[in-house]
Symmetry: D2
Amino acid sequence: MKNTFGNNLCLTLFGESHGEYIGAVLDGLAPGIVIDDAYIKSQLSLRRPAGKISTARHEADEYRIVSGVFEGKTTGTPLTLLIPNTSQHSKDYSSTRALARPGHADYTAYAKYHGFEDYRGGGHFSGRVTAALVAAGAIVLSALKQKGIVIGTHIASCGGVADDPFTDPAKDIPSLNEKAFAVLNEEKGAEMRSAIEAAAADGDSVGGVLETAILGVPAGVGEPWFDTVEGVLSHALFSIPAIKGVQFGDAFNMVNGRGSDYNDIFYISDKKIKTATNHNGGVNGGITNGMPILFSCAVKPTPSIFKAQDTVDMFNKTDAVLKLKGRHDPAIIHRARVVVDSVAALAIADLLITRYGTDWLSV
Amino acid sequence: MKNTFGNNLCLTLFGESHGEYIGAVLDGLAPGIVIDDAYIKSQLSLRRPAGKISTARHEADEYRIVSGVFEGKTTGTPLTLLIPNTSQHSKDYSSTRALARPGHADYTAYAKYHGFEDYRGGGHFSGRVTAALVAAGAIVLSALKQKGIVIGTHIASCGGVADDPFTDPAKDIPSLNEKAFAVLNEEKGAEMRSAIEAAAADGDSVGGVLETAILGVPAGVGEPWFDTVEGVLSHALFSIPAIKGVQFGDAFNMVNGRGSDYNDIFYISDKKIKTATNHNGGVNGGITNGMPILFSCAVKPTPSIFKAQDTVDMFNKTDAVLKLKGRHDPAIIHRARVVVDSVAALAIADLLITRYGTDWLSV
Amino acid sequence: MKNTFGNNLCLTLFGESHGEYIGAVLDGLAPGIVIDDAYIKSQLSLRRPAGKISTARHEADEYRIVSGVFEGKTTGTPLTLLIPNTSQHSKDYSSTRALARPGHADYTAYAKYHGFEDYRGGGHFSGRVTAALVAAGAIVLSALKQKGIVIGTHIASCGGVADDPFTDPAKDIPSLNEKAFAVLNEEKGAEMRSAIEAAAADGDSVGGVLETAILGVPAGVGEPWFDTVEGVLSHALFSIPAIKGVQFGDAFNMVNGRGSDYNDIFYISDKKIKTATNHNGGVNGGITNGMPILFSCAVKPTPSIFKAQDTVDMFNKTDAVLKLKGRHDPAIIHRARVVVDSVAALAIADLLITRYGTDWLSV
Amino acid sequence: MKNTFGNNLCLTLFGESHGEYIGAVLDGLAPGIVIDDAYIKSQLSLRRPAGKISTARHEADEYRIVSGVFEGKTTGTPLTLLIPNTSQHSKDYSSTRALARPGHADYTAYAKYHGFEDYRGGGHFSGRVTAALVAAGAIVLSALKQKGIVIGTHIASCGGVADDPFTDPAKDIPSLNEKAFAVLNEEKGAEMRSAIEAAAADGDSVGGVLETAILGVPAGVGEPWFDTVEGVLSHALFSIPAIKGVQFGDAFNMVNGRGSDYNDIFYISDKKIKTATNHNGGVNGGITNGMPILFSCAVKPTPSIFKAQDTVDMFNKTDAVLKLKGRHDPAIIHRARVVVDSVAALAIADLLITRYGTDWLSV
């Protein structure tokens, strides 16, 4: 029952979709980190639903930091942030309480919590909880940026439409990170949005792939066994609702090739060791090699669809048919992208703090 | 620097490829688990190289259990096993000490350990360390089997050749787990071996995909955030050398479909809740739903190849050319398969012990 | 920077004395535990200052549970409680910001947090944070009681006055737990209060010893090395401000005796194994033996005194004289007692949940 | 079942008194630490029994380091050390298997491990396991010394005889650390040894108090809640067999005094902040203040005595009488002292590595 992540930088998430607050405690931050409210708000707005391709539930996400910040800077003690829930439509859920929504956690929550779970809107499993994750992540992202570490994610594919690959992540990311729909090729982005709208019109949903780059992490971070960079990042990433696969570099593409195709050759550039290609996603033997850390996440199609679905009544153990009402996202991939950046920031900062000590993030 | 995995069942791995021993400490095992030496030996033999498709280094893997077992059963205190290294050819490595092997951890180890690392044969990063993992895993696998939990893995693809998918894992696994080259379709297996031999003849290597099923885990295991089943399994799986991607169910296949294609419909069968399909790999919201847990691992082509490769001299920061000697695997996927089963056993047992208590595994 | 305690039942504390809220996240609670608001309030009132022997700062401690509870029962997801701070006199502190209060954490906080700490009222180090600990502890205490586990603490000595020892903790504790000033002998209690008042009249303070009994824990809980019952309890207990020593059973009394004096002889009573004496405090080899767990905590005299004290200006590195103003406790031992019970409940529940699984506390 | 200690420097202990090996895995050590075999041997010899005041079991403690060291220096990967058991008299134990030795862990082990435990010589609970702790501790102690951090312990009292207090620990410790019987006043030491011999002559045993100083730790190390310096040290110290109480500074002496007696006044000396007294043992609010860290451990009289004792037959649940045979220590305090130093080194190094990063110990 551990809803906490991290060894030396620890994030605890709490809250339910229809409770009073969702929130987070972030412990292990160095003292003296400037809280950039404009950036936190901007990140929250990128996660917030907007337009026809998202749920109609609108939350202002008016977060409050209630501990761990003094005079605009972190104190070094646990930072707690609260985000009130204001737009719950709880009655949308009570009539279908007993019916397990396919692809959702209703049944697994029931199996685990024996019916005591707050089922409304997915409760603690709701994607709503990622708002707290994004707010916490924003604090870490801005601190990492001061240390020369930059993270960015684009929608590599969505609804069957592929974006262009990163050309040079260092150049691509600054503008990418400003976009509400984060693609490198805007025409492809328009096609993706059309695909989402088409699915929405059918009462259906789409998924996609998010590709992320983390730049500026020095070589030598991570552990050989278990706390590998891949292991630590994937551990956290799989918490993001709808993410079902994580690969580093060209993993699932490399499986049909040969070693000579995919070994990343080293060379010297400006007295530094670099690799000519980056099929391994910046990680060898679980440890960073100084190249960009590259990974991709498979985002399954949103399970909330408006088509009638066969399912079961969990309490009576009978077959049933479910017709969802309420407000749902035909795609979450464009919203999930800042969540991925936030999780990546938390995980990589934890590895860096472990390596360089508790003051490192603000020095 | 944590080479330990698990919250309540903890595995610590130690040792270097050319040191005296590799080994493991397994702590958190219930007392009274019977040690099945024949099974441990059998699992080690499945990991051991054999024939033209593997390295010529041969190790007897004569493990010894030096603590935590008394009169053939676990005591409940830390179980330590040692496996001596007997067939090191250390001189194969000293001449090329300064040259970072592409795709290997030489450079990242140097960046992390500043040259103090035991570089011979990959040191602590060596796949050799997985022998200890397999021996420890075998103990857990046989205990899980007593509890009705069965794990099996097949080579879903290798060298561009695809195996048949699982038909019924419960029926497929018993014979699969006996095979030295674990495929469901032996003809495809023969093609894969040919592909490996062809790569070996070229001084090259191949990769592939391993698909795993875990059967018998009850619904309700795992945590909503961070210690999700996917997060915990992937964390451990990424430690296995050459694994660069992990997906649950049909993750990277689902990304181009719609929710209506991939939502696993629930139904009642014999008063139990089941899903008609298993695209989600037995996990919803991070928690088991009682269906088989299904995941796939991308195994990159083995980085040790005999072709000349450009690289760098790490000490002098100069470009160089590397021509590997020594004994290397043109493929490790057939050997990695019991490693994946072992890691899966350790991770899932940890989740189960957390849920049901420390005595559960032997009751 | 880990302000979290516990392996399977995890408490995270946050907040500063003069911030908006102090609070706690409690994760790992079984679902279905009834929240007994009257009991939580009662425990908070026992911690709250009252009368001449306590600080004049009065807080209503109107806690709110904002996650993890649904329809009056725990959901099994993280339970977050918030307690607003309403009676801060921050200006009492700003004039003496640079002066390290002797016996307090001002200087060590400055050394750790480089001046970014919220210094007002002790910030995150304030005993005020224990209100959140007590509210969280009350939830666990009432759940433990349902399982037959009872905890109680008396003021064994204060200001040089000794209370009677426990006669039979099972009989002593019910009435003891109702008392605002928890002594077994009321006459001695009156003497203690006089000693506190006398110290207060001198602008000074007193300390004492708290003795605690935990009843009903079965034999076989705890670990042989490191996670011993003594180790886990003491780890948590030393967080309580002013506690500087922890002993189990008759520890510091046994040091001058012989083994034959202090070995607790076993005997059979009603087919159960018991000990005739309990010098070891219910723990042998780090593991419970089924007898009451007994421990004592040394509470140093409150460091906030009104006498002029020599100290230093931390910023200018000069000697200085400090004359405290504000509102301070001449003794905290009577208030610390429910804090000790709360910490003991959290630590022992964590050990029990580790042993018996995540549902145990509510089954 | 976690026999592991530490967050960033992790020690795992394994082995049983009459097994093949006892040993330890130490993970998180920086690379490049020189292994000083002479010092490890010297520390082991100080722990080893000698003369009339100790058990007649003699072990050569011929440790072997089998991983994590290359060319005489740590590699940064897990360091495993093995110590063979060679002088077991297992038959001493089999005849009394069913009889729970008072003051020992026989019954609690049985309650926890259901009879599967290796009961011979106390099994995994045996003080013998501390040999591995001392060998691991010696590696850390010598690395800490290079960083200016020195640890020393004297027998503050034994058998009712008190040693002199530390005068100046920095001057006292170098010679103290060479002594087989570590007292500051040799006459008092002779009296203590006489008291031990007198107890031995009676078939009885004695206990005492160990006082430890840790010098050179900078201010600002430790956490405000839970991972306080006191909490982390005591957690580890209570693992040492026979330790039943831990106090910092003058804890149990302060309880009868007033704040004005025990507040440690700050002053400036050579532009540094110091305290005039050290009643708080170098820790305020859980965090180091730069003064010596001082703590005392209560060591109960050794429970192995030769007098007939009432006890129970655990299997038949009947009363019984036990007359111990075998080889036992009439006192262990003089041997426990290097164990305390070792544990202190491990715990404080963990806190320092957490604060300053993984390379700190060797830089």
